[in-house]
Symmetry: none
Subunit: 399 residues, 2 copies
Amino acid sequence: MLDLIAPLVVPNTTKIVLLSLDGLGGLPRPETGRSELETARLPNLTKVASEGACGLLRHVAPGITPGSGPGHLGLFGYDPQRFLVGRGVLEALGIEFALRGGDVAARGNFCTVDGAGLITDRRAGRIPTELCVRLVDRLRAIRLPDVDVHVEPVKEHRFVLVLRGAGLSGRLSETDPQATAKPPLPVKALESGATKTAELVNRFIAEARKLLVGEPKANMILLRGFDLLPDLPRFPDLYQLRAAAIAAYPMYRGLAKVVGMDVLKTGATFTDEIATLREHRDAYDFFFVHYKDTDKAGEDGDFDAKVAALERFDAALPGITALAPDVLVVTGDHATPSILAAHGWQPVPVLVRSAYSGADPVTAFTERACAAGTLGLLPAHHLMPIVMANALRLTKFGA
Amino acid sequence: MLDLIAPLVVPNTTKIVLLSLDGLGGLPRPETGRSELETARLPNLTKVASEGACGLLRHVAPGITPGSGPGHLGLFGYDPQRFLVGRGVLEALGIEFALRGGDVAARGNFCTVDGAGLITDRRAGRIPTELCVRLVDRLRAIRLPDVDVHVEPVKEHRFVLVLRGAGLSGRLSETDPQATAKPPLPVKALESGATKTAELVNRFIAEARKLLVGEPKANMILLRGFDLLPDLPRFPDLYQLRAAAIAAYPMYRGLAKVVGMDVLKTGATFTDEIATLREHRDAYDFFFVHYKDTDKAGEDGDFDAKVAALERFDAALPGITALAPDVLVVTGDHATPSILAAHGWQPVPVLVRSAYSGADPVTAFTERACAAGTLGLLPAHHLMPIVMANALRLTKFGA
């Protein structure tokens, strides 16, 4: 898809706003037979859905539940099956570490081992974050051949390790045996190309062991979730869009940064996010705006809270439509049905409104109604080409 | 798809029932403008369709009419374009021969040749089956280097030849010249890797000739439909499901066996099949239940008989829903429109009902109504991931 559209991109002055409601899609509550979207009063969403073209997005593949990484990469136009984002990378993005393509990231834990090297506490008694910061600083002294070593504190016993250099692999086994009274496991290469990376990580662990030996609790480390950040084509270059991300949560800011968007400073609320959008309206062509509350309520299994989160979003929507973007997109990164209390595999409603989107028979922004929309059921990474077309930023294919 | 979902499979205790109505899909009768599904009274199917998510399955590709092999492999989650099942293999499965991946099977005919070796009867006067059994027993004396030779009688002049060994190919030309007064053709390799197999088969034919020389009618053999059974990943391993097949017809039992399902002993009617399902409910996680009558009526071009077959199925459905499977799937392996009196290329209705399937606007289980369902129009081999997700047997993709 990227190869297809890249040569067709043409410049324009049109503005695009992509609103991502995290965990947007839901399921009917058995008592009423109506989903969160079908229960909420959403006059503003209903209006834009009636004015635009609707459909359903599938982020990875039928039946596959997307994590937040793949869910958003799909919205940005990257096939999530081709550009994999795993746990270590998300962990690093969650602290807004500026990851680059080819970096290998891992989640680290400080742990306690006894004189025989056996684990007595996998979380080192959850040491205070201040101690974590000091110990991480000590680990920063570790040097490895041919790679840059980055160690970043997270919270309590948790930290992130990032190796940066050529030819690294994320296909490594974990060192946490997931039990006490066992020694930490050595890292093993899970593919032939990972041997060098495994050696480097084992060397890091050995050095860390030496540097931590006198600590009463945090005298060893465990590493898991090794993951390589793929080389992603830069979003602003690919689409020739000055692109900005507005997201209160670090992980989503991190995901946007990874694809090369500018991440704007904003406040903790959606109202803050809209103020940021208004403020920067002229400086960018594309805005990715993230709304977290829908996912939080869904993950909590709180149907009413998700309905309320949708209604709050709807109440705020006129603040965005008033800016009159040429293309307005409303969708989500995955479903989080309240009755599932987790991410779900269900397709997610999407609407695209522009002067050229056409209106379709859909007059409500719900899972059921959008199934009959003219956008159809489409892979999430096919959305950006449609958005670009609506922004008159794609020329025709072939003569 | 298999590579994508295999690492995501997690165990659970949920039960899945997949009902395959052979040749389910139909077309409107010109007189009424209504298809078989639109004509039949189907209160129970209508109810589950209203409660679940609906869509349309395409088994191979647009415009392509599936045979029964590809049609069912698709339902089991195997891309029928990648895992080919041809005539020789289906012939062997039709007599429930326990084929293994890598086996080469061919359809055999006894025939009559004159003193000059020219064919005088391509079917050896349709010798009685008892004689076929005796002659096949004689051919079982044939030994070939490095492969096991299996010869099995079918009916009248027909038998099945199976070669089992390493490195065989099914890309062989047929020996039947499709005319009398011509000699049987030698087998030729149709790809470079098939030379050894061609030599083995030609040696088998030469030995058979010698063993049959004194027979008055069946004094020679013809072989066609050479076909290799691909190495299919085992269904129970792939999905971590204890899987059982309930089918009255041998070919469908054979197809299920090929993918590693347990094939349960059952009676000749659908009522028998449901009794078998009830009896084994606790011992398995997944049941494939096959209903043949719809296809038979469609193949006969008997619209009313197909309507009646659908209504009989509908009347029996409560016997299955009463078992309360966590995921109920109703679909078919291909269309057999009565007005076509043959398999058709038309997409086939599908419904998936579970606590998490969501309900869509579809309130009738027909070709037209299912087109507006939330499952959309999907390749048949994408159905199993959706089924697994609804059974809460897949974890999420990416973090």
